[in-house]
Amino acid sequence: MAPEEIRSAVLDILSNIAPDEDLSGLTDDEPFRAQLELDSMDFLDIVMELRKRYRVQIPEEEYGRLESMKSTVEYLTPKMEDVPV
């Protein structure tokens, strides 16, 4: 997967976790927490959905890398480059 495809995969996960959020105005540089009503349970869900859908393992000490869309895509790019689209 290329960074742009990873971005849309993450967006799809977000819309699944928080169906009532409007994601169209999401800014990539800003933390998710500042823009969306996400709590720690939701962050765990992002991690779990990535594992379920793409078999990506994220250790607990690295959950903090999923702070914003930008940091998430950067973090996932090497992990997901071999994931087929």
Binding site: A18, D42, D45, M48, K52
Partner: protein
């Protein structure tokens, strides 16, 4: 080999099961009873549907709300708001001699009532509100602080203190006399700040949705399968042994059976202190009316009453029940959509009861006591709502013995043991608790409990 074995198909076990099955775990829920629900169940008798447990689903929020426990449950279990189909309450009341405080799903009504009845207390009440809102329920550090001590810093009129304790204790306090402040905060928010709702079809709608979802994700549910023993090897649970002798192996076990009830199953535990079990149990006297309660002037959803200025939250010492305080609830009195209404009129009255005294009765005395205490509970309640007794066409009652028989919780305790295990851990490294003894009570609370334990101990 299961990834996770869950003991008990109540709200917490089912919610945990959905989380785990959704993330592809092989999960099995074991339930000793013939049906699901545990403390929040339902039955059908003489052609009528009865709910057990649920008076109201607390933590009401409007469709589309993004905050609060209800929306958290919906998101975590991937339900749409519509699937729980909650209709808001019609309004409720705390009733003490000569003083009533009405409240609804908008806390402003309660503020206005307090400002009217206790004008010198409203500032203190607003201070209490902010303390409660600031309390972090996931932090849990000051959970077991005395509620009476915290209240004393805000409320100086003892009558108002008792009136605020009455509903919050009634809907979730496992401790006699006082209450953990963490529990009080949860109850205050879920009752006064958020409020009450109910699905038109009652608790069965929620339970059936949970089971349907769980099964669609590949989860296994085995009814009539009680766990009699947890096999232990070197601080590790290795398997469960069922009442029928069958042995199931799992990587981890989540139990909603209660803390000491679960310890009793562990083959490495020889001594249990039964005094640590919850003591508070109830009778509930259900009356079916020949008309809607509103036609008799019973318009409110729930009335919490107490017949003196002092509210006593304790197991009755000398009698089977204590009917000086009670909860009167009518499932008819919700704002159901499209003018729908329940066919029968219902009034349910809950009173405090002693499990030890009820369970000591032989069958004839037990039946006579049910008839006698139905009369006494209703007689006490009709001092606070219009007398409906001339319109009763059917009655039913459950007692602490009934609760014990169908939930296997010690003493038929409805809110579990007074001392909670907030992190859900036990002496075994792969055995965890969810449900009442983990800390959250009520329907939404139980589901939060199952979700939290699944997330923290079974998914990470």
């Amino acid at each position: 080999m299961y990834d996770t074995i869950i003991i008990g198909a109540g709200m917490s076990g089912l919610a945990a099961g959905i989380r785990l099955a959704y993330y592809d775990q092989k999960v099995c829920i074991l339930e000793r009873h013939t049906t699901i629900g545990g403390l929040n169940s339902f039955y059908r008798q003489a052609g009528r549907d009865y709910d057990v447990g649920l008076h109201a689903v607390t933590n009401w929020t409007e469709r589309g709300a993004r905050h609060g426990p209800l929306s958290r449950v919906l998101r975590q279990l991937r339900f749409r708001w519509e699937e729980f189909a909650l209709a808001p309450q019609c309004g409720s009341r705390i009733s003490f001699p000569g003083v009533d405080l009405r409240f609804s799903n908008d806390i402003q009504l309660l503020r206005d009532e307090i400002a009217g009845r206790f004008p010198d207390q409203i500032d203190g009440f607003r201070r209490l509100e902010s303390i409660v809102v600031d309390y972090d329920q996931l932090d849990g550090s000051s959970f077991d602080q005395s509620t009476r001590e915290v209240l004393a810093t805000c409320i100086t009129d003892p009558l108002l203190t008792e009136m605020l304790l009455c509903p919050t204790m009634w809907y979730g306090n496992a401790r006699e006399h006082d209450m953990d402040f963490g529990q009080f905060s949860i109850m205050f928010r879920s009752i006064f700040v958020e409020g009450f709702g109910r699905p038109f079809r009652g608790v069965r709608l929620i339970l059936k949705n949970l089971v349907k979802r769980y099964r669609s994700l590949g989860g296994e549910l085995k009814l009539r399968r009680g766990v009699r023993k947890i096999h232990v090897d070197d601080g590790h649970a290795v398997a469960v042994e069922l009442d029928n002798g069958e042995v199931l192996v799992g990587k981890r076990i989540v139990s909603s059976a209660g803390h000491i009830e679960t310890l009793r199953m562990c083959e490495d535990v020889s001594e249990i202190d039964p005094r640590r079990a919850g003591q508070l149990s109830f009778i509930e006297s259900s009356s079916v009316l020949d008309r809607q309660p509103a036609e008799l002037g019973i318009n409110e959803t729930i009335v919490f009453y107490n017949d003196s200025d002092t509210f006593r939250w304790e197991v009755p010492a000398h009698e089977l029940c204590d009917v000086r305080t009670g909860v009167i609830c009518s499932p008819n009195n919700y704002q159901y959509t499209d003018g729908r209404h329940l066919e029968d009129g219902f009034v349910r009255i809950t009173s405090i009861a002693s499990h030890d005294r009820w369970s000591a009765l032989d069958e004839p005395r037990y039946l006579a006591a049910k008839a006698r205490w139905y009369d006494r509970a209703v007689e006490s309640a009709v001092r606070f709502v219009p007398d409906f007794r001339a319109h009763v066409i059917a009655t039913d009652m459950f007692t602490p013995t009934t609760i014990r028989r169908f939930t296997w919780h010690d003493n038929g305790a409805v809110y579990g043991a007074p001392d909670k295990r907030l992190d859900g851990t036990t002496h075994l490294d792969n055995l965890f608790l969810c449900g009442n003894d983990q800390g959250f009570v009520g329907i939404i609370g139980a589901m939060i409990s199952g979700i939290t334990i699944a997330n923290q101990h079974c998914l990470k």
